[in-house]
Symmetry: C2
Subunit: 223 residues, 2 copies
């Protein structure tokens, strides 16, 4: 009976080895240019073996993405686990998203593959399910925080927390994508610093959602 457990462990370990190899190759080449043969070689396994552990290249890709999402979640948890006022926590959350982006660009890039279902031809139902679950966890963290800010009277009651979350999330993500792709272009051709623009966008939105009480506290906080 100890044997089946060990086998289980070894199997899990192999899955991890494969993911690690896949990550290396995907980071270097991206989904399209990475080949399963390459990943197999990096994992020191044959291609056939990969398919014993993952149903498709896209499943493998999504599995790597999930590692990234987990790291992102940890950033968020850490950023919101202090005893600071809730508006500060929301602001921290925005900062930590950007920090995650800067320190994990490869993951960030992969993450928005997930949002493009046009690209999911071969994703298995199981992996998708786990993905959605993880997504929910992240949204819950954000939404709960905003709910708290509303309850405490810092954000306007007539804005639904989910709405606020979607708005803040969408604009942050979109701007970071822009930074990822075209930062130089905007800086050099348009004379605009996108990182500054991101901060501006976040504070404009957040302030626009605040109550007077919130604005008061926020401004004292910023100084």
């Amino acid at each position: 009976m100890g044997i089946t457990e060990r086998k289980e462990r070894e199997k899990e370990q192999r899955r991890e080895e494969i993911i690690a190899a896949a990550q290396k190759v995907f980071f270097e080449k991206g989904l399209q240019l990475a080949t399963m043969d390459e990943i197999a070689e990096a994992a020191e396994l044959s291609k056939g073996t990969l398919y014993l552990y993952y149903k498709s290249k896209e499943d493998l890709y999504l599995s790597v993405i999930m590692r990234g999402a987990e790291i992102m979640y940890e950033f968020f948890e850490k950023a919101t686990a202090t005893n600071e006022p809730v508006l500060k926590l929301i602001s921290n959350l925005g900062d930590s998203y950007f920090e995650f982006f800067q320190k994990n660009r490869q993951y960030f890039r992969m993450l928005y593959f997930r949002d493009n279902p046009q690209l999911h031809k071969q994703v298995s139902q199981e992996v998708l399910q786990v993905c959605l679950e993880q997504d929910r966890r992240i949204w819950k963290l954000v939404i709960d925080l905003i709910q708290r800010a509303i309850d405490e009277g810092y954000l306007q009651k007539n804005i639904k927390p989910v709405q606020a979350a979607v708005i803040l999330w969408s604009s942050s993500t979109a701007l970071m994508q822009q930074i990822d792709r075209n930062d130089n272009y905007w800086q050099e051709q348009m004379g605009v610093n996108l990182e500054e623009t991101l901060r501006l966008s976040n504070s404009l939105l957040l302030e626009a959602m605040m109550t007077d009480k919130g604005k008061l506290e926020y401004r004292s906080m910023v100084i």
Copy 2:
């Protein structure tokens, strides 16, 4: 000499026929699942012929996208060509972007392929150039309008027009992408109407950028 002209016309026409066929197939299947053989069949030509007119599948895809971008530009032009006050024009611009999205979802979806350079493996330099030119035209329209609103004292002077444009554009786009993919999910699981959220986001941002004069005018406008 009339003959070479006719030939020129016929060649241009063939290019158009091919684009039309490609569009049909891409609309139905998306970039990945569409095959060149399929497009060739739809165009009633052989695959080889396609490659006499377009260098790659991705070039063909981008060429279809450019049709979409042209249509979008026309929406924008029409929305901003009236004599209404400039804040109303900016608001109209947002509405027309959403209208474009609703009436041309297929194009909208394709447009965001362009922003993912990870996917551009085979795009030729020429097509890319035309693309960038078109992009600039659209940005110019938006930025000029915002510049006008600043000049006329409706938007704050300390916000750069390019910044404002990027912020408004990014958040609108991101929310429409969300609508395109997951509207039902947000509506049914989260009880949130994303179309309303988009409008909210736009007005929050716009108002947050306004001067007092702007807010006064805007509020009288909304009623």
